[in-house]
Symmetry: C2
Subunit: 349 residues, 2 copies
C-alpha cells in the first residue's frame, strides 16, 4: 500500500494541479508567452518554435485554461443564450444552428431557459454576465427593468432574436409576426376561401401569437371580410385545437378555412375534424404556424407557415462573431435582420 496521501505530490489545494502554460514552455525550452502565442497567434512564431511547442503540448496533453485566459484578457470565448424553452419544437433549430456556428469559430454556448418568465430571464442574464460573455442572445424584447439595467451597464454585444423590434437598440434577428398573420389571410383568400376563422392560443403570455392575430384581422378587414376569432379555454394546445374545431363546426354558419395560432392547435383541430368525418380541406381548410416536425405526418398533412428558425440561429451567430470582431463585417454589423416565414403547402389547404 502506498502512502499517497502523505508522501507523494502533496497536491496543492488550489490550482487543481493541472498542466500549465509554463510547464509546456519549460518542456519546449521556450518562454511562456511563446506558448501562449502558439495558440493565439501562431503566425507570429517561427516554424521551429511552433514545432517544438506543438510536440510539448501533445506530449503533456495540455489544454489551455480558458478561465485564466479570460481573466487576463477580459474577454471570454463564451456566448450566453436565453430561450423560453429548449425542448419545444420552436427554438430547437435556432439553438442548434447557433451553437454549431459558434463552436466552429471556437466559441462555446451557455444556455438557459426562461419559460417566458422575466424573472427567470433576469437571473440567467445575471449568471451569464458573471462569465464575462463575448455576447448575449435573448429571445424576446420584453425584459424586467432590472434586466434592462444589467444589460445596459454590461457593455456586451446584445442580440434579440425570434422577434423583430426595429426601434429597439439591440441587434435584431427575426421576422414580423404581424406579417405572418397578413400572409396567412392573403394566402387563404387567394385560394378562394372567404369565411376564415382564427383560433388563438389559450396559453397566456404568447404575445407573438397576438401579433399574428392582429395581422390576420387587419388584412381580413382590408379585404372586406369580417375577422372571426375563437379563443379556446382548454389549456393543453392539442385539446384546445380539438375544442376549437368542434365548436366552430357546430355552428350554423361554418368557416371554410381556419388559421390556427400554431401547429399544435392545428393538429388537434385536424384530428377532431377527422374523427367527426369532415373532409379537410373540402369542408374546411386548415392552416398552421411553425412547421413542427409532425406536420408532414398528419392526415391530411398540414399546410403551415414555416418560421426561419435555423436561419435565425445562423445569422445570429454571424452577427455575434462580427460584433466581437471574430469575423469581418464590411460596413459594420447589420443591426436589423428581417427574415421571412414561408408557406409550406401540403394537403390541408
Amino acid at each position: 500500500m502506498k502512502w499517497r496521501s502523505t508522501l507523494d505530490s502533496p497536491r496543492k489545494r488550489r490550482g487543481a494541479g493541472r498542466i500549465t502554460l509554463s510547464a509546456v514552455a519549460e518542456r519546449a525550452g521556450v518562454s511562456a508567452i511563446s506558448v501562449s502565442r502558439y495558440f493565439n497567434q501562431p503566425a507570429s512564431l517561427s516554424e521551429v518554435l511552433r514545432e517544438r511547442i506543438g510536440e510539448a503540448v501533445a506530449a503533456l496533453g495540455y489544454v489551455p485554461n480558458q478561465v485564466a485566459g479570460g481573466l487576463a484578457s477580459a474577454r471570454g470565448r463564451i456566448v450566453g443564450m436565453v430561450v423560453p424553452n429548449i425542448s419545444g419544437p420552436i427554438f430547437a433549430d435556432t439553438i442548434q444552428a447557433f451553437s454549431d456556428a459558434l463552436a466552429a469559430a471556437g466559441y462555446q454556448l451557455l444556455l438557459a431557459s426562461s419559460y417566458f418568465d422575466g424573472e427567470k430571464e433576469e437571473s440567467a442574464v445575471r449568471a451569464f454576465l458573471g462569465w464575462n460573455p463575448a455576447a448575449l442572445v435573448l429571445t424576446s424584447h420584453f425584459h424586467t427593468p432590472a434586466c434592462e439595467k444589467l444589460l445596459e451597464g454590461a457593455d456586451v454585444p446584445l442580440l434579440e432574436v425570434w422577434d423583430y423590434q426595429p426601434s429597439r437598440r439591440p441587434i435584431q434577428v427575426g421576422f414580423s409576426h404581424y406579417q405572418v398573420g397578413v400572409d396567412a389571410a392573403r394566402y387563404l383568400h387567394g385560394k378562394g376561401y372567404r369565411r376564415i376563422a382564427f383560433v388563438q392560443n389559450s396559453a397566456p403570455g404568447d404575445y407573438s401569437a397576438m401579433d399574428r392575430r392582429d395581422g390576420y384581422a387587419d388584412t381580413l378587414r382590408e379585404l372586406g371580410l369580417e375577422p372571426w376569432m375563437f379563443v379556446p379555454t382548454a389549456s393543453a394546445p392539442f385539446e384546445a385545437g380539438k375544442q376549437a374545431m368542434e365548436a366552430l363546426m357546430a355552428r350554423a354558419e361554418r368557416p371554410d378555412a381556419i388559421v390556427f395560432a400554431n401547429d399544435n392547435l392545428a393538429a388537434g383541430g385536424l384530428l377532431a375534424g377527422q374523427r367527426a368525418g369532415l373532409r379537410i380541406p373540402g369542408d374546411c381548410a386548415v392552416l398552421g404556424f411553425g412547421d413542427y416536425p409532425f406536420a408532414p405526418m398528419l392526415l391530411p398533412s398540414l399546410t403551415t407557415l414555416k418560421p426561419p428558425a435555423r436561419e435565425i440561429g445562423e445569422i445570429a451567430a454571424q452577427r455575434v462573431l462580427q460584433a466581437i470582431g471574430a469575423q469581418p463585417a464590411e460596413g459594420g454589423v447589420e443591426r436589423l435582420n428581417l427574415l421571412q416565414c414561408r408557406v409550406v403547402e401540403r394537403e390541408s389547404c
Copy 2:
C-alpha cells in the same frame, strides 16, 4: 459636445472596467474578502456587515466575476454536456431537465453537439475542459482514444447518460436498449401477435437501435417464434418507414405486427398503411420507440415505448450536484442508475 474619448475615464484596455469586489468593499467600508464571503458564506458574516454590503451591492449593481472566482478557487460553476443533437426530439427533454436543475443550484450549462461523431465530441470535451467544468456529461460510451485520455487526466466528475454500461467507470444514467427490445417483443406477444417483424434504422451508427433489435430477436426465439428483420434503404426515416411497410405488406405472408426502431419510422409506416387502406391495428399492429411529440397526433395514434428522457436529465443533475458536493449524498454517489422505458398504449397496437 463632450470630449469623452480623451478626457473622462480613459477606459483601461484590460479589465473591461466593470465593477469589482473592491469597489463594493470600499463603498461598504469593509475589506474585499468580506464581500466575497457575503456571496459564498453569508452565515459567517455579522448581520451588520451583511446589510451594509447588501446595500452597496445593490447600489452598484455588482455582479460577481465568475471567471476570476473560478481561477482563484480552481472550480467553476459550469457543467459541460455533449449531446448528439439538440434539435431532435430525443435529447431535448433531457437537456431541458438537466439545465433547469443545474440552474436552480446556481450552475450553468455549457452545451455542444457531436452528431454522433467522435471527433466532434472530442473537440467539445477539450473546449469544455478549458473552462474548468465542475463536471462533464456525455451521451454515449464510445469516445475516441484521445478523448478517453483527456477525460482520464482531467479529474472531473464524469457521467454517461442515455446509455447504460455498468462495466464502465463513469457514473451511468440510462436504460437498457436491449431490454426495450425484449419489452417490445413480450408486449406484442402478450397481445396475441405471432408474426412480429422488426424494422431497423437505416441511419448508420445508431448502435442503440441495434441493441433493441437484438433484444427483440432473442426474445422472439425464446418464445419459439422466428425473428423477422427488415432493413430499409431509404435514408430519410419517414421514407424508410413507408418503404418498410409497403415491402412487408406486399409479401404473401404478412406480419401481424411491426416494431419500428423509432417513432419516425413508425409514422412513415403508419401513413403508408393508411394510404394503402390498411386497418391498423386490425390488419397489422404498429409499435414505435421514443414517444415523439407527434405520437398522439397520428391516426391511429401511435403506441410506443417511452424512454425516461426527462428523468435522465433530472437524475443526472442530481448525481452531478452530489459528486461535486453541492448536494448531500448519503452513502456516496449512486454510480449505476438504471431507469426503465414504459409502453404508452394508444391505438396502433
